[in-house]
Symmetry: C2
Subunit: 318 residues, 2 copies
């Protein structure tokens, strides 16, 4: 039995399981960025007894902890390389800290990497290799899984598709700074909507979908579903940019499947997956045409917890 | 003892060896595209006895044949998927054809893939993993070697860096069609020079370097070495485009080394490798900065033959 922990940019999730795609109990909270590491410590210390009670499990049955962290991690040192979200966690020895906190061996990895592992072991890529997993949420992350193992380059991460730069015509006004996230991540879609508004586009449809709230990625998706032309244009640009990124992945890796998950992918078949596949087919390399399937993720919001548990089982299961 | 065969776009090379980085004998010829497969058959049939005599080896000592082919190949069927160079070789059962021709088990793969394998086993990537090999010659090919094995995606090739599309500002006038080769391959560099000429740029320096011949990639390199400003500008654009491709490779794969070989790489340290490393450092992802070394290839013109021999040893050496 293992404890799986997701420490994301905004959410903290803990789950108990055997690393076999089943959860015996789940605890979900929000990361309080202002409270930093100390806040996360308090949340974990409170959540673990709750989880054990819920699952009817004795603490002594836990063999280890797996963590999916929302940022780059170092395999050799088991540290967080860098954190945009949690103050003081640059170079932070996360595995050692959790071992001390919980008295259990701990292994950490990047959240998108373990999510990819989970999709290959239990989800939309079951039994397939190679698989490239993409999560399009607030940001964009990736994971490359070869033969059921996470590919990690020199051991500090890889598969950073969100940092690829899209090509002309998307890049024509943007110089060198903008990356795929700028167009296709949740924040990128919101940014595009705000820019349309500033430049005097008719954003009545977006406003309606937003009710009195801010225009977010979700709002753009909702307005697009209602046929709003500005929203449809923004989404089209996001899907084009993501397609360019996937074309680069196919040229370099020609995986059997590209699995796309995350909040933005929930826009669904008609407005997201269908145009995505069409753009990839139109702009991809002829020699690899049709070799890579693009499919939605299967595991939903607990995907990183499943991956963290699977990682713990692989590395600590003995 | 194995026979290693390189069937490239322009050259045909055969070598005898144990797949250990040593050649006992080498035969080199030009591919006669007009003569097609029949021409290659005649060349191979003539070359093999010559090679055996030169190395003082009995035909019976040969255990198999490895081939590095200049085009996409299919691992499962051991066929050429497509050939731009050799008429009639689309879907051609190259391994079976050679087995019949030479009476020896044969294994085929893409030429850049086996060249990458050779560099990792015997050259600039010895003992390292992962390694991304790039050959910048007339065209641009790539090979990804993980743990001493060629990465082949779904089994029909991968690592096609020459087909990535460069970003703004290089792509600003080019729409969607142009790929890295358009800027950085030998033919792309020659194209750029011809375009400069047509648009009325001062190409006196290029003309001088060309003597009375055509302006090729080599000519541009020579003129650049002599300080010609137009040639330097063309090379700079080629190196920028290649740097963008390498940045994408690093973001997705973060390999320990990128090894660059091929004729264009022979331009050398000052005009090629130094600016290449600088552009990659300037435009790469901060989290992966400094993790990937960019180094020149070590094995020279026989690299594909070495790789074909190593492939034969791996697959047929038993």
């Amino acid at each position: 039995m293992f404890l799986g922990v997701e420490i994301g940019g905004t959410k903290l999730q803990l789950g108990l399981g055997r690393g076999d795609g089943q959860l015996l109990a789940l605890w979900r909270g929000a990361v309080d960025a202002a409270a930093g590491g100390e806040g996360i410590r308090r949340q974990i210390v409170a959540a673990v007894p709750e989880l054990l009670a819920k699952a009817g499990i004795d603490r002594g049955q836990l063999r280890g902890v797996g963590v999916g962290f929302g940022g780059p991690t170092d395999d050799a040192t088991q540290t967080v390389i860098k954190s945009h979200h949690i103050a003081g966690w640059h170079g932070f020895p996360l595995a050692a800290w959790l071992t001390e906190l919980l008295g259990l061996p701990t292994v950490i990895c990047n959240d998108a990497d373990v999510a990819g592992l989970a999709e290959v072991l239990f989800g939309a890529g079951k039994g397939l290799s190679p698989v490239f997993y993409i999560t399009v949420g607030t940001g964009i992350g990736g994971g490359l899984i070869i033969g059921g193992e996470i590919y990690r380059g020199v051991g500090k991460g890889a598969a950073e598709i969100g940092h690829l730069r899209p090509v002309y015509p998307l890049s024509r006004d943007s110089g060198h700074g903008e990356i795929l996230e700028y167009f296709a991540a949740g924040w990128g879609i919101a940014r595009a909507a705000q820019e349309r508004e500033r430049s005097g586009a008719d954003t009545a449809g977006l406003r309606r979908a937003a009710a009195d709230g801010p225009i977010t990625g979700k709002v753009v998706a909702e307005a697009a579903r209602q046929g709003d032309v500005v929203a449809l244009g923004i989404l089209d640009e996001a899907v084009q940019a993501l397609a360019e990124g996937i074309c680069s992945v196919v040229k370099l890796l020609c995986p059997r499947r590209v699995i796309v998950g995350g909040g933005v992918s929930l826009i669904g078949e008609e407005l997201f997956f269908r145009p995505l596949r069409r753009y990839v087919a139109e702009r991809g390399m002829e020699a690899f045409a049709g070799l890579t399937e693009i499919v939605p993720a299967a595991l939903g919001e607990e995907v990183v917890v499943h991956g963290a548990l699977a990682l713990a089982r692989k590395k600590l299961g003995g």
